[in-house]
């Protein structure tokens, strides 16, 4: 049951994302898995995210919600809703005293059971979404120009149920 990692970062210089609540990356999944994705039937996702939100522009009540990923329809985990829900999303106080003006967020599911998607094969984009807990709509405060929200996310994809 091999585990492969994928690192995505909205602060990278070559990022063209303009909306932190819904950023999309093109991924060549065959290269990521070194073609092992054709040897397994199932894929479990876990992740670890660290983000920063600029001071004063984000309200706590409007910054709670969920994080999900959107894949092409046949790769998502559920038909109930379009994206695959990954976890609840919450704010944290800065771990560094005197630096609370930059509110970070940190959510980790690497030590939990994770969530399933269909095994990604080929090359197609993945979109990471942050949605409000009030009405399930995009966290519009997370646009880069106003309430700056940058994050870095580390995905762990566990392939299992080997095709014999």
């Amino acid at each position: 049951m091999p585990v492969y990692s994928l690192y995505l970062n909205t602060t990278s210089a070559n990022s063209t994302n303009t909306n932190g609540s819904s950023a999309t990356w093109n991924v060549n999944w065959d290269q990521l898995f070194k073609s092992a994705n054709y040897d397994y039937k199932k894929c479990r996702i876990r992740f670890n995210i660290i983000g920063r939100i600029a001071n004063g522009t984000i309200g706590f009540a409007t910054s709670l919600g969920n994080i999900s990923c959107t894949l092409p329809t046949n790769f998502n985990g559920s038909n109930l809703i379009s994206p695959t829900l990954l976890n609840i999303f919450e704010l944290r106080a800065s771990p560094i005293t005197n630096l609370r003006q930059t509110t970070p967020t940190k959510t980790n599911t690497a030590d939990t059971m994770g969530v399933n998607i269909q095994v990604p094969r080929g090359s197609f984009p993945i979109t990471i979404n942050f949605a409000k807990f009030t009405n399930f709509t995009e966290l519009t405060d997370f646009g880069y120009s106003a309430g700056v929200f940058d994050y870095t996310i580390h995905f762990m994809f566990e392939l299992y149920d080997q095709i014999i």
């Binding site: 585990v3 690192y7 660290i50 800065s94 560094i96 930059t102 970070p104 980790n108 030590d111 580390h154």
Partner: protein, 165 residues
């Protein structure tokens, strides 16, 4: 599924073992080590195909009495190990093992902030079981620049390798 541990410390001035030798410590955020994996795994490396890697990291970061406003973000990033391409999935950035970020020091009054990150209780990340004597780079990369964290101080890193099929 045996688990073997490897301890790396940038403060070692002379090798404690001929099996683990620092090659280049000029950049503490990208240190090269020479590791004899055959001796580390005591022959078990030939019995198992996959190797799950987890780590425990304690590091010293900025030392100013009052952190600068950019200090928190400057130390956010990821920890990766780079081995010859046959032993890892991603040959571009090395194998990314986890995210890193600084914390307050648990020692009151030192004004020395630290970095403590662990994935020991996480699922971990796989590499192909390394064999032979290899150069392994341990890098801590900035999420802002995607380059080694320029102001990284000394650290102590315990890597745990779980072999399995």
């Amino acid at each position: 599924m045996p688990v073997f541990s490897l301890w790396l410390s940038t403060q070692i001035t002379s090798p404690a073992s001929s099996y683990v030798v620092p090659i280049d410590k000029t950049n503490l955020a990208n240190v090269a080590w020479r590791v004899d994996f055959d001796n580390l795994f005591k022959g078990k490396q030939n019995e198992y195909k996959f190797c799950r890697v987890r780590y425990n990291l304690i590091g010293e970061t900025f030392t100013a009495s009052t952190p600068a406003s950019t200090d928190w973000t400057n130390y956010v990033g990821y920890l990766s190990v780079s081995l010859p391409s046959t032993f890892q999935a991603d040959v571009t950035n090395g194998t990314i093992l986890g995210l890193t970020y600084p914390m307050d020091s648990p020692i009151t009054g030192t004004s020395v902030h630290c970095m403590f990150n662990t994935t020991m209780s996480d699922i971990g990340v796989d590499i192909i079981t390394p064999t032979g004597v290899q150069q392994m780079n341990v890098a801590m990369m900035s999420w802002i620049t995607n380059a080694p964290i320029s102001t990284m101080q000394n650290y102590s890193l315990l890597l745990a390798f779980e072999l399995y099929n």
